[in-house]
Symmetry: C2
Subunit: 325 residues, 2 copies
Amino acid sequence: MSNLDMIHAAAERLKGHVRRTPLLSSPFLDEIAGRRVLLKPECLQHTGSFKFRGGWSALSALDPDVRARGVIAFSSGNHAQGVALAARRHGTSAVIVMPSDAPKMKIDNTRALGAEVVLFDRATDDRDVIGDRLSAERNLTLIKPFDEPLVIAGQGTTGLEIAEQAAEEGLTSGDVLVPCGGGGLTSGIALALEAHAPDMQVRPIEPEEFDDVARSLKSGKIERNDRLSGSLCDAIITPACGDLTFPIMKRLCGAGIVVTEEEALRAVALAFSRLKIVVEPGGAVALAAALFHGNQIKGDAVIVVASGGNIDADVFRKALEPHSE
Amino acid sequence: MSNLDMIHAAAERLKGHVRRTPLLSSPFLDEIAGRRVLLKPECLQHTGSFKFRGGWSALSALDPDVRARGVIAFSSGNHAQGVALAARRHGTSAVIVMPSDAPKMKIDNTRALGAEVVLFDRATDDRDVIGDRLSAERNLTLIKPFDEPLVIAGQGTTGLEIAEQAAEEGLTSGDVLVPCGGGGLTSGIALALEAHAPDMQVRPIEPEEFDDVARSLKSGKIERNDRLSGSLCDAIITPACGDLTFPIMKRLCGAGIVVTEEEALRAVALAFSRLKIVVEPGGAVALAAALFHGNQIKGDAVIVVASGGNIDADVFRKALEPHSE
């Protein structure tokens, strides 16, 4: 089955289970950006991020006997919740291996969604050893966060919706800015648009100092991040993109755009005041690029994805602070 | 034309101009409520509230020559913005008469949307005298906030969407909780559901001490509020409901439910953490009723409308404060 066929098949399996998020806009954001801005709020997706699409896509494609034995995933947050809810709604169990320093809210939510959370210490434990042991003991199926065709196909359904909804708004070309960690969402959307909106071009957006994909697209080979912590944009921080996602991005994506953490927080505040949505810093980098790096974008309209909204209340309050009116 | 025909006609005029907001839900909210909760986020509507529907409905139905002379509206906030944007998109002018103590953000937004804002002093000026003079001098058409058939019809399109979207979720009966000020949204939705989901019943929701509609439905005649200020739920505080809206609510609505301001703020915080949307206190009263007054509701599912999201950053930060994790 081709990549595109896999996305269409995923869309069929997702129907009635995954939320079709709308396209939002505000004349105030258009004015800041100097062009029309259409935003796809995947923060409104079940579990607060696009990750539920990939989780559902992978779980729903498993052989029922295999699925009944349970699944396992590694994640510090959004993938954890997406897989946990997808497992629960499929009537099976999920083990999520999470670092003990993950945001408490994300650990609590994952547990509350019915998953068994196994914590490990980043400094002393080997995550993969723990995972391998659990998988072997219980015969669990691993759901990778991005470098997995079924997951890429699930995230790609976001692109099918973008093509359709943008056309309804009279838009068939231009840049599509996507927050990029491992590249599952970015490559999935790029594949969907290649077929359904070939005049649109996906641009991966990353925070400063964690711009491995922008560098990889420049050098032509997979580059890595020097460090993995210390960013408010935790949702999109990965060591490097995937062996499956990179070739897709290399073939289909335009140059990456890098934003500062401060710009991401300003985008969080503007999404609050102008769109009435809650976006986490990592999910707001594409909006930040549209608003504050317009010189790197072409066309009189731009589409941006807000990939998630799982932000702690105190970080959100901080983001609103300097912008209070 | 019947009330229902007017709603269908409004829906035709609104098509492509008004956002079709989705139905949102969260297993966490279902658990608190003890039943399924489906929420219609009109905070995601253009200008951040359902008021744009009524504004567009009224403006789009005017004779083009009449419309070209401009419109006028009285409002301290959401109706102001809805009429301002509807006027701008129709290429005409709007004069909005606002109290000088209205939230600065709402005054600024109304101006930024192209309207001419005329401020008056609640203590010393007579709003109606100012409005009458302006209307007469410039031959402007008054767009009333709720007691106007075209406005009720516009708000009623929310009900058409609820009937359709709830049916997609397998829901055709139960209570529909609606934040209620003058009753335009409440009566409009009730009319739409009477025809399209007759087993659903609209319940008006109000904040404590401003529960004129709950009292009116009990006594059978229009009751008034003792005071008009001092509530964080400013968006839904009116002296009394309308001569047109009351008979509709009396005929079609179930008993009102009254929530405290504290409950409204808790609902604001839960809409933030569980649905990733920004709701203002007045817009959150229906969610508060679903979450904290479930004993007054029947059925295993409830639909709630979040009517607006125009909240100042400092009030929002305050709402999140005690609930920070």
